[in-house]
Every structure is written in structure tokens, then in C-alpha cells.
Assembly symmetry: C2
Homo-oligomer: 326 residues x 2
Amino acid sequence: MKRRDFLKASALATASAAFPLGLRKAAAQSDQTYFMVTFVSGIDYWKDCFRGMQDAAEFLGVNVEYTGTPENDITAEVRVFDEVASQNPAGILVTVINPDAFIEPINNAIGAGIPVVCFDADSPMSQRYSFVGTGNYYAGVVAARYLGPLVGEGKVGISSVTAQLNHVQRRQGFIDTLAAEFPSVTTSDDLIIDDQNNSTTAAEKMSALLIAEPDIKGIFATDALGAVGVGQAVREAGLSGQVPIIGFDYDEGTLDLIDSGELSATLAQGTWQMGFWGMMMIYAVRNGLIKSVSDWQAAGISPLPPNVDTGVVVITADNSQYWRAS
Amino acid sequence: MKRRDFLKASALATASAAFPLGLRKAAAQSDQTYFMVTFVSGIDYWKDCFRGMQDAAEFLGVNVEYTGTPENDITAEVRVFDEVASQNPAGILVTVINPDAFIEPINNAIGAGIPVVCFDADSPMSQRYSFVGTGNYYAGVVAARYLGPLVGEGKVGISSVTAQLNHVQRRQGFIDTLAAEFPSVTTSDDLIIDDQNNSTTAAEKMSALLIAEPDIKGIFATDALGAVGVGQAVREAGLSGQVPIIGFDYDEGTLDLIDSGELSATLAQGTWQMGFWGMMMIYAVRNGLIKSVSDWQAAGISPLPPNVDTGVVVITADNSQYWRAS
């Protein structure tokens, strides 16, 4: 397969030409094409990221293409990235399947003058100009500020992937914020279960914990499948509606559980924001808008903010309809 | 003084109409005026922030005005902010002298439909849509990645304002990163001095520390005046050039010390970036570019990323000329 055909075949969509807001385009730079590169490229999560990139591209008057590898495969995603970079695109947004495997590919692209920004999953030791994604510590802060007032006083449990860094950070933000802002709401190591991102494991372990610790007044599940299992355990213990549960991420099934009251809330990541602000940033570099140190290449510095926390928002039964697929 | 005159009198500058890059303006929305509000409004630090806001405004085709209170006075800054908000501007970037004093003024402005983003100093418990400023923990990471390889092996000292939160965070990022990435470079509580953001105090305490701990191989000063005092102490100990020092912030004097070798480096905050990206964000809200959840007001969520870390860059003798006033 020729390179051009390969890119075309893997492109899911391109930005539409119409600009719906009655605003004029920033520039008629329709010769500029920016790429988004992903792994497991078929999932809805990335489509929402790409929608943000498309919206920014419409405003800026440039073209965008979505590509990636359908597999969960390091070598395959590196190959797609290298193919895209070899086309000398105007810029690349990439979410990396593995941080270290992407250091050299990203540095090569940067060295060739292509602005590269990571979104959702970072390669922090590469020379990428920025990372745009969820600040996991702050996501835990948001969870505590939701659950703390609901619980008021008492113990709370946590269902999590205990060893994985993003989950460690979510727990830490949650625990620190409870201690600082809701000191009557407490947790401890023996109230944390390792759900291994598996709903069956979460249900089994949380059922056991609710027997051992019947005083639990609320639960934070740091992963989507954990939340589903925790909801099941609480329902089976006859505690639905009495033990509020806040989860992480969402799909139609999670939204159903929220509307039925089995889950109180979940945290939606800022996927659209990742694509939108990532696109604004690579455009700003490509088109010379960054003038902080206008000769930033000679000065040896990165031209962009190193980290944009796109945040999480709390989905409850009050606003769940806004996240339903339309 | 009438309200309009007050605003005019305190405005230092407005965006120039010319657009220098040969790009067309995003929209002829010259009726939109955005404000920057500061305290101690005369300092160069804010001028660089406003330059970023002006550059974004030029690209977007809107007007900006700089205002603030010359004093370091909470009531005075709140009054200026309320005056600006009462004009119903297109949006406000504000750096707050006190987080709690600004909760109500900011929430009132948000309630009146005015997009508000905090820059440099945040009011985190207000409803501001975002904070754009230095991530202090990450700034400490950058300091460790600079100093770690220079020291290679041995003890390092820290000069800091020990109780102030942003300095605590800078130290923690530095200490965690040394432990994780440069385990042969160590520090400890008895190698930290409290310089109280005063160069004389820093010089005296660091002189004493260098006598008590002659094995110190490098120093991180988390504030600008601390760095100046540490440089003096190291010079007086006859160790210039042997004990690398990395400071924080800069002025012409700091740049002179870097060029003479008394300081190895300092960290420049992303002031221009704060104004540029802050302006892009309030514009995006005002003009309906944020479509993640298009009806975000009904959904009860913030439309912007909650936190943009504008980063720090390492200034050394190799690139110091780019930070000199031109």
C-alpha cells in the first residue's frame, strides 16, 4: 500500500469546510493539514477528541485528518506516526500508547520542524511542546468536593487500580482534599480495594468490604468498570441510595446507572478540550503566533505551556442528558 | 472621578490595530473589549503578561485594555475589578492579590455573563473558568532536571520561603525529581534555609550552611532575592563556579549575575503565555467556540480547562540575551 493510500484509508474524517458561527476564518491557510494520531483508533473516546480538533480547525481555516492504528500495538502506532511525520504535515496531535517508545519518533518530528503536542497520554521525556490531558490529581480533588458534602461525616471507600500511576494520582487528590476540606469524612488503606479495572473483581471485593466495614458512607471508584461493579455490590447489599458512589469516565451504560440512581455521579474527562486546545497550540506554533521569545528555537526553549489540564466535569442525573450520543 | 475616566486613567496600553504577520484577522469584532486587571500594576512582570494578551487580541481582531491598582491593596483591587465588570466587558483576565477576597466579585461577574479567567495568582474556590499560571511543582521538576546532571553526585542545598505554598510546591517537585531521576544527588531538611525572600537573609544563612556543610555541590533558590543572596554567599566562600546555583524569576540584575557566572541559571515564568492563552480562552467562551457541551451553562459545567501550566524555561548564559529588555 502506498503511503498516501495508507493515510487516506486510515482517515476517519476531515474537517468540514463550513464555518457555522458567522465568524470569518482566521486565515485562508487551506493548504495546511494537521493530523491526529491514536492507538485503538476506533473508539468513541478519540472521536470526541477529534471533534474538538475539527472545531478548532474550522475556526482557524485549516484542514485536519484523523488516523491511527486499530490495534493496541506499540510498533504499529509508531509506524503510523512515522508515516504521518514523513508527509511533513503542518502539525501533529498524538496520544501515545507507550511513553518511552515515542521519545525518538517525536524528537525526530520536532527536529524536522513539525509541531507535536501529546494529548490524553503523554510522552513526558520527549521534546513534545506540550501535554494536553486530564490532571489526575485534580480529578481526585473534584471527586472529593462532590462526595464530601454528600457524606457529611463518616468513612468512605475507594475502588481503584492500586498500582497504576494515574489511579494513584486520582486517589491522592481525593484523599488530600478530604483531609483538607472535609476532615469529618475519612478513609484509610484498609478501605481501598484493587479492582484491576474489572467490574466482577470490583463487585466481589466491594461486597466483602461492605460486610467487613458496614459504616462505609460513600465510595469513589477511580475507573469506569470499577464503578459498575461497586454499584452492583451496593445494590446487592441493599444500600442503593444510601451510599453515594462517584465513578470515572462514562458510556451509555454508565449514564443509565446514573439515571436509575445506582451511581450518584461520574467524572467525564475533557476529551473535546484536548483536541480543541491541542489544535490551537500546534497552529500557534506553525503560524508564528508565539512571540514570548520570538526566537525560541535559538533560545533552546519550548514555545508552549508544558501542561494543560483539561479537567473533569461531574455528570449526575441532573445533566446526564448532555453526554448522551445525539 | 467618573467611571469611564477612571478606567481610561488606569489603562496603560491598548492593543495596536496593525496585524504584523500577514495573516487575516479571525473576525472583525472590533466592538469587543477585553480587560486585564492587576495589583501593583506598574511592574514589568504584568507588562509581559499584557503583551501576550495583546498578541492574542491582534490575531483575534479584538480590543484589550490594561488596568489595575498601583497599590498592594486588596480593597483597591476589588474596587477596580468591580468597576471593570460593571462596564460589561467582553471578558476579564485577572490576577488576584487575595484568593478569598475575589470569590464574590468573580462569581458576580460570571453570573452577569462575563467570562473570567485568573492568571498568575488564582482564586481557586471562585467560579473562574480557568487558571493560567506557573505550575510550581513542575517548576521544581525543571530545576532538578537542570541541577541533577550538573551535580552528578553529592548533596544539594535549598534556599526558600519555607512556609509559603508556592515555594513548598517548588521544593517538593525538586526533591521528588532528584529522588526519582538522580538518586545520587541528595538533599535533606537540614540543607534547607528560610531566606524569607530577602537577599541579605539568604546570604547570611547560606554562608553559615556552607561552613556547616562544606560538601554542598549545588543550590536551588526558589525565589529571586534568595538566588542573589546565595550567589553572594558562594562567592564569599570562594566557591564560585564550583557550586552551581539555579534561581527563580529574573530581572536585569539576575541576568548580569548569570552572564558573570555567579548564578548558573534561573527559571523564567511564562508571563507572555499567561496573557496569550488566557485571552484565547475568554475569547473562545465569549464567541461560542466551546462546543464540548454546547449548552454548558444548562449542564452546570465550566467550559474551559481548569488549569493551564504555563511552565518555566531555564535561562543560562547561553540564552540570557533573549530575556534582556530590548
